[in-house]
């Protein structure tokens, strides 16, 4: 028992050490932490409440008083951009977690059991994956209504397929491994084999997918809110701040109303992607999934080559 925890500790330590040695992970983590801190201390940093209105000094360009200018209601844009991260990041993280949960459970079950269940879930995932995501989201939103939680649910329901495919692929190869054969010989229950024994071996791609999904959902929230179908406008999110740009006059004359929120999204998403790259390097030095993919590709290419 003691031995095991020691071993775990040391794995964790090795992981963190490797991560901190990976330049892209460090850059990414720095960006993310700075932006999260900015979101938490938005009021202190900007010196203004994001909701405080001063209608008379609306639409002011960037100046020393308001580094990012003010919006049409005279609210300080710096404060709004900083605190806008709070909800955007929350949506991204929670939706990504839920989507990964769905994807993992379905992928593990389908991958281990195979057969009919697998092919049904596979068809469903194919369908959801190829259906233009935004249209699917629009249909859901028109049925469920707007709100932060609805947005999260919709994202989770429409974004689980990548993880599903990854996990399913891993399970396909792992279920034939000898330790699983041994489990079966011992007569362990299926859920136990799936979730206690095989799943821990597939954590790396899941963690990477989780990070990448955060970025994808933050961009999706921005798109949905830009169309006016996302989070209620009274909650500042990066996407909601961008809605101002629906008006051509704003695009033309009040650039600070949309450039800063859009830059925040870009920088944060970049940070998340850096972390994702770093995690991939650290967790999976052999690029297992990439190799699996390239095997398939090599097979395709080989065939083409022979044909001619």
């Amino acid at each position: 028992m003691k031995e095991k925890s020691l071993k775990q500790q040391s794995t964790a330590r090795i992981f963190i050490r490797n991560l901190l040695r990976n330049p892209s992970a460090v850059i990414g983590l720095t960006i993310i932490s700075l932006m999260i801190l900015g979101a938490i201390f938005a009021v202190q940093i900007s010196g203004a409440d994001p909701d405080y209105m001063d209608p008379i000094s609306g639409r002011l360009g960037p100046s020393l008083d308001h580094l990012m200018g003010t919006d049409q209601l005279g609210r300080d844009m710096l404060s709004r951009v900083l605190s806008g991260g709070k909800q955007s990041i929350y949506i991204g993280v929670l939706a990504s977690f839920l989507a990964n949960l769905i994807g993992t459970v379905l992928g593990a079950t389908a991958g281990y059991l195979g057969g009919k269940i697998d092919s049904v879930v596979m068809r469903v995932s194919e369908l959801v994956m190829t259906f233009p995501q935004l249209i699917l989201v629009l249909i859901f939103v028109s049925l469920l209504g707007q709100g932060i939680n609805n947005v999260i649910i919709v994202f989770a329901l429409t974004g689980w397929m990548t993880t599903f495919r990854l996990v399913r692929g891993e399970f396909f190869s792992l279920r034939e491994e000898s330790f699983v054969e041994a489990d079966r010989a011992f007569g362990f229950s299926k859920p136990r084999i799936i979730f206690r024994h095989i799943l821990p071996n597939t954590m790396s791609p899941i963690v990477v997918a989780f990070t990448i999904n955060i970025a994808i959902f933050i961009i999706a929230e921005a798109g949905l809110s830009f169309l006016g179908l996302g989070v209620p406008v009274t909650t500042p999110t990066w996407g909601n701040l961008l809605t101002a740009a629906q008006n051509p006059v704003v695009i033309d004359e009040y650039w600070w109303l949309w450039v800063f929120p859009a830059m925040s999204i870009a920088v944060f998403v970049l940070g998340v992607n850096f972390v994702g790259d770093g995690l991939r390097d650290v967790l999976d030095p052999r690029h297992k999934s990439l190799i699996a993919k390239s095997k398939w590709k090599v097979a395709l290419v080989g065939r083409l080559g022979r044909k001619k």
Binding site: L138, S142, L242, N273
Partner: protein, 320 residues
Amino acid sequence: MVSFLIRRVAILVPMAFTISALIFFASRLSPIDPINAMVPPDMASDSANLEQLREELGLNDNIILQYFHWLKNIATGDFGYSLQSGEKISDILALRMPATLELVLSALILSTLLALTLGLFAGAKKGGVADKLSRVLGVIGIAIPDFFIGLALLNVFAFRVEWLPTGNRVAPGQVTLWDRLPNLILPVSTLTIAMLAVLIRYTRNSVLDTLNRDFVKTARSKGVPEWRVLYSHVFRNSLGPVMVLLAFRLPLLVGGSILVETVFQWPGIGTTIIAAVTASDYPVIMVVSMIIAMVILVASFLVDIIKSILDPRVRLGGGN
């Protein structure tokens, strides 16, 4: 091969039915009375008139009956009428589809050409100019939402330097495709940049893979000129996976890109969907989603066929 095709078609048909039922009943779950969406009460002349309209539209029928009626109509090309404008949905599609096709097709072709060229050079010379450029484009494509690219292009090219028009696909005296080219440039560029990232990465990896193949090494050792190796060996052999990716993009041709169309107020299917969703114009939503779903089914069918031609193991048995 034949039995493989039959198996795929056997899956295709029940899926099409399931989707149609899902679309139909989901839209009927919504609490909106189509009559009210069509005629706001403060514009209703008389309640008897509304009752007659309800009857004419078949809204008093049994819902199962309505479903089969709808299916039959769709199958015979009768898509019904928009609640918002009262127009035939087939007319709306005929009007909006070319706009979307124009946009998406140009972007698809342009992005494929660019991605293939850049990807080939990037893969051929790692660390070279093309490689660096494609990395930058890759980062842009991942981190910057496509509509932000659109907004930025609008701000610079349409407002600052006023070189290009903002939207307005067709105006009087502007009828042919040539007339409309200036209107196309900004939205097509936006969509192209957005599509480019993934495509380039894909081609580059694919080229790298091919470069490691034995036949490339053999060709090189035989003294075949490098450009020939690249073109007739590497390039053509890297096309396969790219084709698969492109087949997955086909549904965009029907669905359009909602955000890019919205930014440029492009009168295509994407903006039609948005207008329909915000007005609860559910006959339009139903037909458009149905068509998109069908195109997707066909596209994934095509992908399967491409895969099976490229890799016989797929055909032989579930080989997932």
